[in-house]
Symmetry: C2
Subunit: 643 residues, 2 copies
Amino acid sequence: MTTNKIIFHPDNNGINISQGTDILEAAITAGVYINSPCGGKGVCGKCKVRIKHVHEGAPLPVETKTTGLLTQDELDQGFVLACCTTILTSIEVDVPPSSRLTKEQILTQETKIEHLERVVSRIETIEGEEKKVTGHTPLVRKLFLDISPPTMDDHTSDLERVYREINKLEELGDIFTSLSNIRLIPGMLRDSNWQVTALIGRDNKLLSLEPGDTSLRNFGLAIDVGTTTVVVQLVDLNTGKVIDTEASYNRQAHHGADVITRIIFSHKKQGMDKLHQLIIDTINDLIQALIQEHNLRQDEITSIICAGNTTMLHLLLQIDPSHIRIDPYIPAVNFMPLITAAEIGIKINPHGLVACLPHVASYVGADITAGVLASGIYQADEISMLIDIGTNGEIVIGNKDWLVCCASSAGPAFEGGGIKAGIRAMEGAIQRVEIDPLNYTVRYNTIGQVKPIGICGSGLIDTLTELLKTKIIDQSGNINANIPTKRILETEDGLGFVLVWEEDAGGSEDIIITQSDISNLIFSKGAIYTACVILAKKIGFEVNDIERIYIAGGFGNYLNIEKSIMIGLLPDIDRDRYRFIGNSSLSGASCCLLSDEAMKEAEEIARRMTYIEMSADNSYMNEYTGALFLPHTDMGRFPSMCR
Amino acid sequence: MTTNKIIFHPDNNGINISQGTDILEAAITAGVYINSPCGGKGVCGKCKVRIKHVHEGAPLPVETKTTGLLTQDELDQGFVLACCTTILTSIEVDVPPSSRLTKEQILTQETKIEHLERVVSRIETIEGEEKKVTGHTPLVRKLFLDISPPTMDDHTSDLERVYREINKLEELGDIFTSLSNIRLIPGMLRDSNWQVTALIGRDNKLLSLEPGDTSLRNFGLAIDVGTTTVVVQLVDLNTGKVIDTEASYNRQAHHGADVITRIIFSHKKQGMDKLHQLIIDTINDLIQALIQEHNLRQDEITSIICAGNTTMLHLLLQIDPSHIRIDPYIPAVNFMPLITAAEIGIKINPHGLVACLPHVASYVGADITAGVLASGIYQADEISMLIDIGTNGEIVIGNKDWLVCCASSAGPAFEGGGIKAGIRAMEGAIQRVEIDPLNYTVRYNTIGQVKPIGICGSGLIDTLTELLKTKIIDQSGNINANIPTKRILETEDGLGFVLVWEEDAGGSEDIIITQSDISNLIFSKGAIYTACVILAKKIGFEVNDIERIYIAGGFGNYLNIEKSIMIGLLPDIDRDRYRFIGNSSLSGASCCLLSDEAMKEAEEIARRMTYIEMSADNSYMNEYTGALFLPHTDMGRFPSMCR
C-alpha cells in the first residue's frame, strides 16, 4: 500500500500514513490535536486546516468533500475540513489556532484550574476533621515491616508472618493476597533480610511486598475524567498534601465532543478499543508529566480515584456504554469494581489500585456524586441545590435526609457547541462583552488578552445579557432588524450581530452571534432552569425557596450570577445564597483518595440519590415553554428583574 | 539432534526421544509409570526394566551404569535400571509388574478406597446436622435469576440489577465481581432475555453468569493430593451426594517417593514447573475420567477443595516449598488463597474456585487438619489421639479445649520404602504372613491372590510379629542364626529370612526380609511410638491414658491393632478404644466442599493446633532408644504383652 508523509505545522510533526487516510485520522495517529466536536462527521466545521503551498486556482493534492462549511475565501486559501479530506500525496498542513490546542492553551487550562487549590485546602480540612474519627486511610497504605526471622520456636509460615507483622502495626484483622504474590514472598523475605514494605489496599488486600523500606514514598492520583478535559492531581498519601495538578484535553474528543457521539463511535469496528486506549493514553501522558516534574518512580504511585460521567468511566474501564443512550437508558454498572492499574494499562505501580466513585444513573455520574460529597449538601439541615453546568447540566436537591437528582438535556451551547463562533475557554476566547447602548460598539476581552478567535461560555452569557439590555434582541430572543447599526446583518443562519469585525479578529472572518445561536442558548438555559424548577416541585418546593445553590463545573467559576439570573439561566434568589465549588468532581475524588470514610459517604450518597427522569414528567413541556423567554414568561419568578 | 524410538511393553506405548535421554525420563514423557521412589538417583533399585531382544553376552544398545543393584542373572537377561540407562538407538523395553502400575493395580487401589463410602455417609450425617444450623453452603452455589428488564421507572444498572435479584433469592448482602465479568454482563443479559444463572462463591464473589437456567447441574470435587496417591471424589453440590471416586498414583512419583526428594527435584532447572504440571496432569486425567463416566460438561464442575500435606499443596499451587526442608522448616503459607481453577490450569469451569484446607506446619499439613475435622476430636470432651501413619506419621492429641500435634520422622518403611522387598499395597503385595513355630514354613496371602512380588505395610507388620513370636528375632530385632532353617541365610545386607522362595515368587528372586529391613522397621515404629509418648507427656499425660485413638491414612485400615501393639508401634490400650477413620483427608475435604461451617471449623482447627517440634525435645533420644525394642525396653508400658 502506498504511504504518504504528512507534516503538521506549526509543530512540524510528521507521520507516514497510507494513501486515502483522512487528515483527522492522521492527526490522531500523529498525536496532533485538531478540534472535532462532531466526531468527524463533517457537520460542525470546527476542524479547519490549511493545505500548505497551495496557489489560488491550483488543484488540491487531496480529495475533499464540499461541505458548505467553508467560505470561498477559505477555499481559495487552501482550507479544508480535516475529517472530510483524504490525502493523495505527501503534504504539509497548517493547523490554525482555532482548530488546535497549543501548549499555551494547556497552560491557560491550568490557570483555569488553579482555583482547585481552594478546594484542596478544603479537602485537608475535611481530612483534618476526619483524622480524629477515622484516621488516615488512603486507598493504598504502605507499612514498613521489620520481621523477626523464623526459629524452631516461632515457625509461623512466611505469609502468616507477614500478616502478623502488619497486624502488630495496624489491627487490620483478616488480610488476603493473590497467589502470584504468595509465590514471590519466600524469596523476597530472605533476599531482603526480612525487611519489606507492604502495600495494602483498603479492602485489606496485600497488593505487593517491596524489598526494604519504601514507606516514605507513597503517592496517589485523583482524576477527573471529563468528556472534554482530563485533570490529574498528584497527592502525597503520607501527608495528604496536593503536590501538583496537570490537565489536558481528553484525546477521545477527536471522536466527538459529547458522550452520545462517542457511544456511537464505540460501536464502530474497534471503536470501543480505540476510545478506551485514547483515554488511557491521555491519563498516562499526564501521569508521565507529573512523574518527570517531581522526580517520582512509577512504582511510587500506588492508587487512583476517578470521577467522571457515567459514559467516561465506562469507556475508561472498557465496559460497553451502549445502553446509556438507548431507552430506558441503563448503565452497565453504577458501582465500578476496584481494579488494579495493570488491568486497564494505567502506568503507575501495576499492583496499585484504581477505584471509581459511583454513578447514580446514565446521566448522573460519579462527577455528581463527587460534587454532592464536596458540597456537603448531604450532611446539611438546610435544603440545598447543586447545579453542574456542562454539556448536560445535572441538578441535585437535598439535605441530610434525602437527595433527588436529574439531568437536563441542555446541550453543549454554553461550552461553545452548536454556536457558530463558540469555542472552549481557551486563549483567544471572548469572555467578557459590553455593548454601548447608544452606538452599539462592542468592548470585550479575551483569555490571554490576544486577538479574539471565538466566544466561550461566559462570553456567550455576557453577549446575551448585553443584547437584551440594549434591546437588540427582545425577550423572545429575536434580533430587531430595525436597530440602526451595520453590526446587524443577514447571515445564512438568519440575522446576526457582529461582535468583532474580521480586521480585529484572530481568524479570517467576522465573529458573529446569529439568530440561530441565540435560539440555541435560550434552549440550553431554558432546559437547565426548567430542570431546577421541576425537580424542586417534585419534592414540593418552589425553586426560589432553596436555601443554598452550589455551582459546580469548570465553567461555573466564570459564571456571572447576576447576568445568569437576568437571562433566566439561574433562579432569582439572593445572590449570597450562591456558592461556587469549582471542579468538585476532582475535589471529591481527591477526598476519597485520602479517606475511606469519604469513599463510604460517596457510596452512601449514590445509593441515597433518587434519580428523576425529566422527560417522563407531564408538566415538563409547559414549564419548558415558559422558560424559552428572557428571563421567563412568568416575571413573578424573577422579582429582582422587575425593579 | 538424533532421535530414537523407544517402545514400552506390555502397553506397546512408543515415543521418539533425543539420543542420550534416560529411560525413566522417556517413560515420564510417554506417560508410562515406572516406580522410582528415590527420584532417579540410582540408589533404590526399584526402576528395573528389561531391554528386549537382548541375547546373553551381546552388547546392550544402551549405556548403563553398574549400580550393584542388579543380580548377575538379571544383567544377563537384559535388566537395567531405567534411571541409570541412556538410549543409544531405537529399542523396546519391558516394564515388569514390580516396576509398573497396571490398570488392575489402579483398580486394587480403588478397592482399597471403597471404605470411603462409609466416611461419605458420615459426611452426609454431618451435613444433615449442619443443615439445621447453616443451610446448604457449597463452595460455589448456582442461582437461576429471572430478572425483570429495566424500565424508565426501574433504571437500576445491569450489574446492580443482577445483585438485587441474587439478594431477593438469598440475602447475601454485598456481592462483588471482576471487571472482565462486568464487561460481559450487558450483552449476556439481553441475549438471554434476562434469564441467567449466577455462580457465586462463598466469599460472595459473582464468579460468572451463564445464559439460561443451568442451576440443576452443579458439581464439586474433593481431592486428596497424596504424595503417592491422588484421590478425586465427585459430589453433586445440589444434593450433597457423592457420585463417584477415582484414584491414581501421583505422577510426581517419577521424581521421588517422598516429599524431601521432590523438594530437592523442584530446585532443578524447571523442576518446580515439572512437578506442578505433573500433579495438575494427574488431577486433570482423573477429572476427565469422571466427566466421561458420568456425562458431565467440564463447566458443570464449579468447585474443588484440596487436602494434602504441606509440600504437595505448595507444589499444586506452584509455590516454592524449599524452606519446608531447611531448618527451621517454614512453609511459605499455611492458609492457601482461594483461587480460580484457571489460575493453576485445572480443567473444570475456569471461573470455578479451588480452595485448600489449611496447614499447621511444614510437616503437619492440610491432610491432618482434615483428619481432625473428620474425627471430631476437636469437639469432644474426652482426650483423643489421631495417628496418621504414612511416610511421616503425624500425631494429634486434644479435645474441645486444646489441640497439640507433631510429626515423627518415621520414614517410609511401612509404605515399603527402604525395605529390600518392600512395595506399596498393590496387586502381588504380601499382606498377611504366618510363620509355623515348629518348622518355620511361611503361609501368606497377597493382594489379588496372585504370585507375590513384594511385601506391603500390613505384611511387614505381620512379618515382624511372626518373627518375634517364633523367636527368629529377639526383642532387639536381631536374627538368630542358630535357628535350624534354610530360610535364614546370609545376604549383602546381613542375615535375612526368606519369606518366599524364588520359584514361588512373581519376580526373579527370593523375597527376603533382611536384618537391615528389620532395623528400618524398628526405627520407624520406634519413631511413631516415641512421638505419641512425648506429645502426651508435653500436655502432662501418659500415652496409655488417652481415651480414644483414631487411626487415619489409607494404610491405617489394614493395620492389625493387636500385632501393631505387639511390636510396640501403637500404645497398649484397650483395643476397643481404637477407631479407623480411613482417608480422612478426603472425607474432611468433601465435608468442607459442602459446608462453609465445616471449612470455618477446619480453619479454626489449624489456628488452634499447637505444633511441637519433636527434635527439639530433650527427652526425645532417651525415649526413642527405649522404643527401639520389641515392643519396648519398659515392658510396664505394654501390660497386655506380659500376660
